[in-house]
């Protein structure tokens, strides 16, 4: 509904009335100008930043990918997923096991990780997506725990201490080993994730998600396969998480089950909710806030999550749609 008006003139007329920056952003060429400028800044950042800031910024791009992936599930399709770290873990462990135990090239592990993410998404989504959304929330929570416990108890995953010595990837003989290289890899992934999210949102599938999110019964009456398109959202979100996990394992060269605890899932969810569910710039802002907030407020230490939770509660009570929500 909102999608149709998004690209047409009716909306820009309203926006001009509203005035200001948002109105200037309305025409396509101005948007592209801003995007190009932002991309230029992002590309040029390694020239001026030190290693610490580079590390933080790589982390930002990494969380942008994860948050955009979860945004497809939570923002577009309106399903609450509390075990998203599980898909992230599936990707990371697939790459970790295949490269360190079997010596398989990093790039070849990505399709395998995608395959396993899809399997995990179908196994967990298939049976539960028929049910009410609150069941899904708790089942995904349980699923996230199951994946972590399995990773901790199996021998092949390295048990509680995890996997070490994961090979760094190389492109045609050029090994990615410095933080600058990974900065660009994650930036590229983030841009790719934005592009895919954007295309999905404005596709037939994206409109179907929106319809189901707003009114499930009406959508079904219109001939939309409710369970089918939810499963699509769930599986596509899982692929995002899985691929991000592959690159995470390659960058860190070591992974342990504790990286994929419930808190990780909550953190990613927070990024989506904070910025504005279902809107790409909102989610990116959320991911920035997520990574930069703890860096800026280092002295808060373990109180960080508490402050985060209070912020989340206040946002839900006063701005339930997030800081920069999707247009309705």
């Amino acid at each position: 509904m909102a999608d149709i008006s998004n690209s047409t003139s009716t909306n820009s007329a309203q926006a001009v009335k509203a005035g200001g920056l948002m109105a200037w952003l309305e025409p396509q060429q101005n948007r592209i100008l801003v995007l190009a400028a932002l991309a230029g800044i992002a590309l040029a950042l390694p020239l001026i930043l030190n290693n610490y800031a580079m590390e933080v910024m790589s982390s930002v791009w990494f969380y942008v990918v994860l948050c955009l992936g979860l945004n497809i599930v939570v923002g577009y399709a309106g399903l609450l997923d509390l075990g998203y770290a599980a898909f992230f873990a599936v990707g990371a462990y697939t790459t970790g096991i295949l490269t360190s135990h079997f010596g398989i090239n990093f790039w070849l592990t990505i399709p395998v990780a995608i395959f396993f993410s899809i399997c995990a998404g179908v196994i967990i989504g298939g049976p539960t997506l028929r049910l009410r959304s609150d069941y899904l929330a708790i089942v995904t929570l349980g699923f996230g725990e199951i994946v972590r416990i399995i990773a901790r108890n199996l021998e092949i995953t390295g048990g509680a201490s995890g996997l070490i010595g994961i090979e760094k990837p190389s492109i045609m003989g050029f090994e990615l080993n410095e933080i600058q290289h990974f900065y660009y890899v994650f930036l590229l992934l983030a841009i790719l994730a934005c592009f895919i999210s954007y295309r999905l949102q404005h596709s037939r599938l994206g409109r179907a998600w929106q319809y189901v999110r707003e009114d499930e019964d009406a959508a079904e009456a219109m001939g939309i396969n409710r369970v089918g398109i939810k499963l699509y959202a769930y599986v596509i979100g899982a692929i995002f998480g899985g691929v991000a996990g592959c690159f995470f394992a390659a960058k860190m060269t070591a992974i342990s089950p504790e990286t994929f605890m419930f808190q990780q899932s909550v953190l990613i969810l927070l990024g989506v909710v904070l910025g504005g569910m279902g809107k790409i710039p909102g989610v990116i802002i959320g991911a920035f806030a997520l990574v930069l907030f703890p860096e800026v407020f280092r002295e808060l230490g373990s109180m960080r999550i508490l402050v985060f939770a209070v912020v989340m509660l206040i946002i839900m009570l006063y701005r339930p749609e997030g800081i920069w929500p999707a247009k309705k």
Partner: protein, 304 residues
């Protein structure tokens, strides 16, 4: 020990575990039944109950020493305190969200859960606290199975609470109002029932039952931790779903069943204690596939 003894010993363990699950599951089911909210913070209220009981008990023991009376007294006091906290949470966080989309209220509940567990973490530095009650390890021998008095008292206390709740919901006017609200809130308003008051009462009872379970678990296992509510919250939800969410006898049955399943499940070869949680979540997922309404739940008819 013979096979029979192992089975009997696990029966005792399972009943204890099951009573905790059942008490926590009751709160889940009551709140879900009345306002269709999955209260994620419920497990954390169980944890708060344990800490509150710890606090009151240490005050009492400092004056009169360890005793059963002291434990009982601290249990009652913390049940009231945590029950009031539950009502407060409902008023601040859930009441304004009742008309909001489902996703928003679920995230609100998640935020409340994080606030509760992280504030306790901040107070305790994330350390385990020893919940020493010193009730002794005396007990009775039933055949070859040894059952401590603590275990007997805990199961008895859980049973008393559950019977009391059942009588309250089915024999009093307030209970009748609760059941009516879970069927049709608007019609209840027209009939002159103070809906908000009954919802608050439901939160109070549900939360204080979780708090009771928290204190009992604290004194049984001997240590408490800010994260102790997380897994039991999940398990209790599983129990509520097994019994049929929204059904009070269902939650009791589901809790006991899950406790027994878990303690017998760990005896099966290749399923050690480290796989216990995987086992019960596996049950939850299988159940949702084959019988989402649970054992005693009713099929929900969606009206447009």
């Amino acid at each position: 020990m013979s096979l029979q003894d192992i089975l009997l010993q696990q029966l005792a363990n399972g009943l204890i575990l099951g009573s905790f699950y059942a008490l926590v599951a009751l709160g889940y089911t009551m709140v879900y039944g009345i306002i269709k909210l999955l209260n994620f913070a419920h497990g954390d209220l169980y944890m708060i109950g344990a800490f509150c009981g710890f606090l009151v008990l240490s005050l009492i023991s400092a004056v009169v020493g360890d005793s059963w009376a002291g434990l009982l007294c601290s249990m009652v006091l913390s049940m009231i305190a945590v029950g009031l906290l539950g009502v407060l949470i409902q008023r601040i966080a859930y009441q304004p969200m009742l008309a909001a989309p489902r996703l928003s209220i679920l995230i609100t509940a998640l935020a409340v859960s994080m606030i509760l567990s992280n504030s306790v973490m901040a107070f305790t530095d994330g350390e385990f606290l020893a919940f020493s009650t010193d009730l002794g390890f005396d007990g009775v021998e039933l055949g070859n199975v040894f059952v401590t008095y603590t275990q007997i008292v805990l199961v008895a206390a859980a049973a008393i609470l559950m019977v009391a709740l059942y009588l309250f919901v089915h024999k009093t006017l307030y209970g009748k109002a609760m059941r009516a609200i879970s069927i049709d809130k608007d019609a209840c308003r027209l009939m002159g029932i103070n809906v908000n008051k009954i919802i608050a009462l439901t939160f109070f009872i549900g939360t204080s039952l979780a708090a009771a379970a928290g204190i009992m678990a604290g004194s049984y296992y001997g240590s408490i931790h800010f994260f102790m509510g997380f897994v039991i919250g999940l398990k209790a939800f599983t129990a509520a779903v097994i019994g049929g969410i929204g059904s009070i006898p269902g939650a009791m049955l589901g809790g006991l069943l899950l406790g027994l399943l878990e303690s017998y499940g760990t005896q099966i070869p290749f399923i050690g204690t480290e796989w216990k949680d995987v086992f019960s979540f596996g049950i939850l997922i299988l159940l949702l596939v084959f019988k989402p309404t649970g054992i005693l739940g009713q099929t929900e008819i969606e009206r447009m």
